[in-house]
Symmetry: C2
Subunit: 611 residues, 2 copies
């Protein structure tokens, strides 16, 4: 089946992409000025950094916190590295170097690194597969690769390689079994392979993937009857996966690792499993916001179409992990439907995790709240803030991709990019757009030397009708048709050539499929990639779930520069004729506390027309 | 109930409206150059005009054709009058004068005028209420009023008054009963009252309305058990009407007459009946094209949600009559939902009745055809061509209306208008828009002297999101909210002030409600007011109903200047990945013969997302 065949498109790293818009650019600035320093401070204040100093014998003291706390430091360091890649900063780099020095000091002579076990239970290493030893290690590897790329400094990369070598010495064919309770190490090892060229890293990753679902799991998860192996995707061998199960972040990291594995192994059974589980995830277990994992109980999946709004768990990390996975799927299979999901998460499920001020975070992202749910500066389990810290600065990587034939435009973000074609020719791209508030995109294409290549433009799933011009000439019929989510323009390009893409971006009334009982008789509003909600801040007089809104009613769209960092609001009348206002879901809980709802009740009324 | 209260907005006659666009303007030219001369010629060739000469003793001969043929001559004359109002034309006027002279000659000394009875059955007058005696008379009256307005010549108006006086002498309280089998006389008599000021005309109209449903009907309809009184809305007194029944054109003319009656009588029972029957018509018995009356058997209604596509009758006259009725409802009740229906008919159901060449017509307008249904130059019963001949030249009357507070913009058509406010101040309006192909409308407002008044802009039901600026300033919240279909801008206007209205006009996937079994598993496409269809001309390789189209697929929209008089086509891939093209429904059957479909089967596939 052709849909399944890997195409292996190539990344265009965010270092090649300059973002210069009013949507992401301010967020990147807040990230650098507020989020990263705050996260570093929190890691310091909560003893996360001190754990390394203690393990390295630099200071005295016991392990503080939870066994996976090392990972937060690594993830913030990864974010720092991305930030440095965007803009060098001597002070930030010095701080990172200082922390790296402490991390290195905490590595045991054989390469082992996990401050919890070193400090608290040195004799219990590798006894409980739920204790995140390799999860921590995976994040170390990702941070190390990022920091090496950002600074050229090898210290952390060397630590990472020693750790990976240590894993490889203990685990693998003919050695000990291991089912890492929280996936992450798999994708990290393949990343390390791609940076170092060391093949045993990808082989270890593939072996770790194959360990799952074969009864090797031991530890807290496996002992808990209400969780069991499905909680960490250890219920079936990965090549037999049919359904998304268990803890949402773990599942997404696993599938990300599997997608990476396909790039090195080409295993067709993995390809089929990925397609199956992707369909099962998005067709039966994803919220309109892109949120996944409805249940607080297992931080994950329950049964199909179980999408409660008020009790939705929808961990921020899970939304970010959906980006990781879908970005990989997009590159692997060259289908725009994966980039559609990336977009949905970027503008909704993932972005909601952080306040406009950059210093408060959601762990849990419900689609309805009576007014008690608010962002906070930090958590004991602070994976979400630190995931945002590395997700946001690298957002530019989702904008473009490369194919053997040319360039892919996956996301519409104002700015510039330098992309080198496979034939070595450099192409400068300039995107002018007010996306996500407008669907009009002007693209200036400037190859160093003129030549024939293809530019694929994603036509998002929310866009029904579109129009495209090249150098002022309207394209028609076959030359502008959409295949697997892309409109492909193949021609001889010269410097200064332009594409004008007009994507219809109407306000759309979204209705749930009937299987989602929670949303029966309700509608949601979406415009372009942005899912909307109502907040009490705009409806002081209303009670929770009191509002009704008719799908027939018209909405005034207005760009409000001073509101919530600049948003298009939708204003109309509710079912009782009272003024109502919808704001982007990602921007909720940035004003006075109060209720919020995405799915609004429709007033009981006849549909207008008979057909 | 406030919705029911008559507001009595005022007409802005088409003589005050200049149309200067690429959509309607060419049709008006074709109308004048092709349609009207052809209709006159056909009336001549088929003996319709000769019948008057014969009845007037100018020539010898028997009555030729069907008993309602007089009405065709009147309707063409009405169209000629409207054409003369748009542009005087000595030749055309001379031809009209010649025909009017013959009509006048056919009037009997007592005022009676119906060439069928005069020539074929002089002793059988007023014995069969189905024989269209007053229907003919009603169209004479409408033609007479129009011609008088166009030329100031009274000859035909005098004929009409003598005829109306004759009716009044025979029928009315204490005189003979009469239930006219085909309504038309009612609205015509009220029109005649408004031109002459003669109150007995509206009183006779109201009496005729009240005659229905009281057992007075006699004649062919009443004798046919399969028709019976419901066929001509004689089953219940009009004030008790709950449901639309019987022959579609007759029903619409009746409701138009009732709406006119409310303007003179204010009868609240009529108001309620009109609202009830309007809801029953559009909520249960209207096609997506605006077509009404599914059955060939009674040229009318059957049971709720009976909307078959291939066998749809949808008489052109019924679509035009929906315009007449809904225009009256809009003026009467000041609600945009009625103008929405006017628009739907203007761009779909009614317009499909005429070929782009202006000389071929549909009587029947199915929503699917296997390739055997085509327009023809004329019919034995030629009501549809002659209705188009009077509908099209007067299309400008639907663009604006007046309220005590100011001006209503009901339709978006490029051109200018001169409207006098109730305070006597003249306002020049200039609309610049590429409607129906674009939803952007620029309106220049130039009152003779500055002053405060309101401009209501209709925000159509197909438009979910909109944006509006006045003199470059974006309106927000309450000042731009939509009430009963209108956005009302109340301010002090000075010459040259501008409104920029942006109506989202996406391609929309329309799904039928489940009660319409015929459309189960099918979708239709609509963009702005235009309903689309597929034709074999674009799909030579396909069989009828072979195409499938997924609601998820994207469509390239392209304005094709050279195609079908200039249309926006929608191009995509069908369910099997083959190129497909949608064209406006109104434009079908203007190329080589072949199948046509509005409702397309959806391929069997899972809906993409879970929510």
């Amino acid at each position: 089946m052709s849909l399944s065949k890997p195409l292996n498109w190539r990344e265009v790293p965010f270092t090649q992409v300059t973002i210069d818009d009013t949507f992401w650019r301010p967020r990147l600035e807040v990230l650098k000025k507020v989020t990263l320093p705050n996260c570093l401070l929190k890691c310091e204040e909560t003893g996360r950094i001190a754990n390394f100093a203690k393990a390295g014998g630099r200071i005295e003291g016991k392990f503080e916190g939870i066994y996976f706390n090392d990972s937060d430091v690594y993830k913030v360091l990864e974010g720092v590295a991305y930030s440095l890649l965007l803009e060098r900063d001597a002070e930030l780099e010095a701080e990172a170097d200082r922390i790296i020095e402490l991390i290195a000091s905490a590595q045991e002579p054989d390469g082992y690194l996990c401050t919890y076990y070193t400090l608290a239970a040195p004799d219990a290493k590798w006894t409980d597969m739920e204790k995140h030893e390799m999860y921590n290690g995976g994040h170390l590897i990702e941070a190390a690769v990022a920091y090496y790329e950002a600074t050229g400094k090898r210290q952390l990369l060397d630590v990472a390689c020693r750790l990976a070598n240590h894993y490889d010495s203990l685990f693998g064919p003919g050695k000990r079994h291991w089912v890492e309770g929280h996936e992450e190490i798999e994708l990290a090892l393949i990343k390390l392979y791609r940076t170092t060229g060391e093949e045993r890293y990808w082989k270890l990753a593939c072996w770790l993937l194959e360990e799952r679902g074969r009864g090797h799991g031991v530890g807290a998860i496996w002992d808990k009857p209400e969780w069991g192996p499905a909680y960490c995707q250890d219920d079936v061998p990965v090549r037999e996966i049919e359904k998304v199960t268990g803890h949402a972040v773990r599942a997404m990291y696993l599938y990300s690792g599997m997608a990476d594995a396909v790039r090195v192994s080409g295993d067709p059974a993995y390809v089929d499993a990925l397609h199956r589980v992707w369909a099962h995830t998005v067709e039966r277990n994803m919220y309109v916001t892109g949120g996944i994992g409805p249940s607080r109980h297992n931080e994950g999946f329950t049964h199909d179409y179980d999408l409660p709004n008020e009790s939705a768990y929808c961990e921020t990390c899970a939304a970010i992990a959906m980006v990781f996975w879908n970005h990989r799927m997009n590159l692997l299979f060259g289908d725009g439907k994966f980039a559609d999901v990336v977009e949905r998460e970027m503008y909704n499920g993932a972005l909601a995790g952080i306040s406009l001020s950059g210093d408060r975070f959601f762990y849990v992202n419900p689609l309805a709240s009576q007014g008690e749910h608010h962002r906070v500066p930090w958590f004991d389990t602070s994976c979400c803030p630190t995931n945002l810290a590395r997700f946001l600065p690298s957002i530019g990587q989702y904008v473009y991709a490369r194919t053997p034939e040319g360039i892919v435009v996956n996301q519409y973000v104002r700015g510039e990019a330098e992309i080198t074609l496979e034939n070595g020719i450099g192409v400068k791209l300039k995107q002018a757009t007010a996306f996500p508030w407008s669907g009009t995109i002007e693209l200036e294409v400037s190859p160093e030397t003129s030549g024939a290549f293809a530019i694929r433009l994603r036509v998002p799933e929310w866009c029904r009708g579109y129009r495209v011009q090249v150098c002022g000439e309207v394209l028609s019929g076959a030359e502008a048709s959409v295949e697997r989510g892309y409109l492909s323009i193949e021609r001889h390009w010269s410097a200064g050539d332009t594409i004008l893409l007009e994507l219809d971006m109407p306000v759309e009334v979204v209705r749930s499929r009937q299987e989602v009982q929670e949303n029966e008789g309700r509608i949601a509003l979406q415009r372009g990639p942005i899912v909307y909600c109502v907040e009490q801040a705009d409806h002081a007089e209303l009670d929770y779930d009191e509002m009704t809104f008719s799908a027939r009613d018209r909405l005034l769209r207005e760009y409000r520069n001073e509101l919530l960092g600049g948003v298009v609001t939708l204003q109309g009348k509710d079912g009782k004729g009272r003024p109502c206002r919808f704001i982007p879901y990602y921007a909720w809980d940035n004003r006075e506390p109060g209720f919020m709802q995405v799915w609004i009740r429709e007033p009981e009324e006849e549909r207008l027309y008979s057909y």
